[in-house]
């Protein structure tokens, strides 16, 4: 009845809940981030194709892609298969607390299924070798190593990066004979993608309707609602998962969607860059540590979002404001509290505004709202940002 005392989960006591609710009211986060600021993301590619470890703060997820020849289903005879398996057991010790983790594993599983399988991001038809006979079965194993909140984003980034890193052997099918070529005979073939989806997670609290991106475990456990949105690099929505007890209004979701779309785009760019860099290092043979050994070394060596995307800022002007938040080096906690206060001031000013705008008509023009009022966004980080995004959105739509 009182099992699982071995595990300590933050955010399960009243004290913590009350405290976080109060902090949220003042738009403060314990680690000093702003509400729209994410933790740094780091990728470590393994020695084999399709093997990657993603670190998002202290959250660590490993994904491994493997492939196998198999027979297709009768309903889709000319399509390969993509299977996703999530493991919460193992070193993360997540399986042992029955109730909550069951839910966690289900949510994570369904999120990944919808983001990658249902959205058809991998071109499965290209995985068909002989219709009704031989297709490639791609299997993705997601192993959670450590959980410090936001497993969802870490997992989707891990799966995407692993799929993009993966190469399958070449195969020919002639005269009823299947021939698989080794790497020496023919080059390995990367998977074909139709689009590249990643997710962004937000937490919403009753005391403040402002969404908090990339929650830590403490924030996640104390949150009243969690919204997970998956977007692809074309800023199309792939998954929306909204659950919890806060009645969330459309505007909040739209606001989440807007910043999530941009974040996802940046994330995909980052994964691409990381892959390029990794490949280049392999070609040049300058890679210092091979494979997962990269996890041992200091963070300066890693492929991190903050360092890789720094240069991107200059090239892509429209994103500048957005990136400012991302690029900031992690300040030490003392300074962070300082910044938190600045953010607080900004937000307090802004959050007064939506009160006058209560009766805005619901936006039905598409997922990326086109309406010009910047004021409907009670929490945006900088006034310039949404405008630029909207411009971008317009270009896309036309």
């Amino acid at each position: 009845m009182f099992m699982n005392t071995g595990f300590f989960e933050p955010g399960k006591t009243k004290t913590e809940r009350k405290f976080i609710q109060q902090a949220v009211k003042q738009s403060q986060r314990l680690d000093g981030r702003k509400s729209g600021e994410s933790r740094d993301v780091q990728l470590t590619f393994g020695g084999e194709y399709g093997s990657v470890v993603v670190s998002l703060g202290d959250t660590k997820v490993m994904a491994q892609v493997t492939c196998d020849m198999g027979t297709p289903t009768t309903s889709r005879p000319n399509e390969g298969k993509l299977q996703l398996y999530v493991t919460l057991a193992g070193v993360s010790y997540l399986d042992s607390v029955q109730k909550t983790h069951d839910k966690r594993s289900l949510t994570l599983n369904s999120l990944l299924e919808r983001t990658f399988r249902t959205s058809r991001c991998v071109d499965l038809e290209s995985l068909c070798v002989a219709s009704e006979l031989h297709v490639w079965c791609i299997r993705v194993d997601v192993n959670v190593l450590n959980h410090d909140g936001n497993l969802y984003d870490a997992s989707t980034v891990a799966v995407l990066a692993a799929l993009m890193h993966f190469r399958r052997p070449d195969v020919t099918f002639t005269d009823g004979e299947l021939r698989t070529y080794t790497e020496k005979e023919r080059d390995m073939i990367p998977l074909l993608f139709l689009h590249y989806p990643v997710s962004v997670t937000y937490c919403i609290y009753t005391s403040n309707f402002q969404p908090f991106v990339d929650p830590t475990l403490l924030e996640e456990n104390t949150a009243d609602s969690t919204i997970i949105l998956s977007f692809n690099s074309y800023q199309e929505l792939c998954t929306l998962n909204a659950g919890g007890t806060v009645p969330t209004d459309v505007r909040t979701i739209m606001q989440c969607a807007r910043s999530a779309a941009n974040r996802c785009k940046a994330m995909v760019t980052f994964v691409r860059k990381a892959l390029d860099q990794d490949e280049q290092q392999c070609l040049e043979g300058t890679k210092k540590n091979t494979g997962m050994l990269g996890l041992m070394e200091n963070s300066s060596q890693k492929l991190s979002f903050k360092t890789l995307m720094k240069g991107d800022q200059k090239q892509q002007q429209y994103k500048t404001e957005d990136m400012d938040l991302e690029v900031e080096a992690k300040p030490n906690p003392k300074l962070e509290a300082d910044e938190g206060e600045n953010a607080d001031n900004v937000e307090n000013v802004e959050s007064d505004q939506p009160a006058q705008e209560e009766e805005l008509p619901m936006d039905d023009s598409g997922w990326l709202p086109q309406e010009p009022e910047p004021t409907i966004d009670p929490t945006k980080q900088s006034p310039g940002k949404p405008k630029r995004k909207r411009n971008k959105g317009n270009k896309k739509k036309q």
Partner: protein
């Protein structure tokens, strides 16, 4: 493959470079990321914790040991590895210290580039040490192969295992160097076995020394502060 062809040539009678990182994970009582050459594993321990009634033992703690491969579900190979780790740990664990409790050990393979059995065992020992679980002794495992030319290769890389005639895994305890585990595969003469055993035994001393220095470094890093604090008090 994604790796450069030959990382670095390690002499045949030397262990590959060992590295470890303590407590990379936050949820468990002790964890270690351990690598030997390019083989990387993470081990995590939890304990003593509450035990299910069916596993409860009144005169000792129950040891749970799981090994997870990188891809797919644990198969027979992984189960055997798991059983080997459990057998060795049961010999080394001082289980009567915490009766009616459970000690849990999880091993996650991150990259297998040869000698994974030995790595799993060594990381298990380090995790136990850093998690503060009571042990009767520490232990070190060494993998060695005999290749087709009849050469002994200690702690082989994956590429070297392709030409193996026989492979051996030994685990030795830290007290008297007793053998805790022997796993052999392939055909060999008993003289060869004895040679390999003594080769591995001498290598195990190096591993035990590595444990000692790593833990000592870990303590120093944090306890220099404590001594200075002591000075402040006086």
């Amino acid at each position: 493959m994604n790796l450069p062809d030959k990382p670095e040539q390690v002499a045949k009678d030397k262990l590959r470079e060992m590295q470890c990182k303590f407590n990379p994970l936050s949820r468990c009582d002790g964890s270690v990321m351990y690598c030997q050459g390019a083989t990387v594993v993470i081990s995590a321990v939890l304990g003593p914790i509450e035990v299910k009634t069916q596993n409860l033992s009144i005169d000792g703690s129950y040891l749970e040991c799981n090994y997870r491969p990188k891809a797919g579900l644990p198969q027979v190979k992984e189960r055997i590895r798991e059983a080997a780790v459990r057998d060795v740990l049961e010999l080394a664990l001082l289980s009567e210290a915490y009766p009616r409790s459970k000690m849990s050990l999880q091993i996650q393979e991150l990259e297998d580039r040869g000698s994974i059995d030995a790595c799993a065992l060594n990381s298990a020992c380090l995790a136990m040490l850093i998690g503060g679980l009571p042990l009767k002794c520490s232990f070190a495992a060494v993998h060695c192969i005999i290749n087709e030319q009849g050469e002994y290769i200690l702690d082989p890389d994956q590429r070297e295992t392709e030409h193996e005639r026989a492979s051996f895994t030994f685990a030795f305890d830290s007290l008297e160097g007793n053998l805790l585990l022997v796993q052999t595969k392939g055909s060999f003469k008993i003289a060869e076995f004895n040679d390999v055993e003594s080769l591995c035994r001498s290598a195990s001393a190096e591993i035990l020394q590595f444990y000692r220095t790593s833990i000592s470094n870990y303590h120093c890093r944090r306890s220099d502060t404590k001594t200075s604090e002591e000075q402040m008090e006086t």
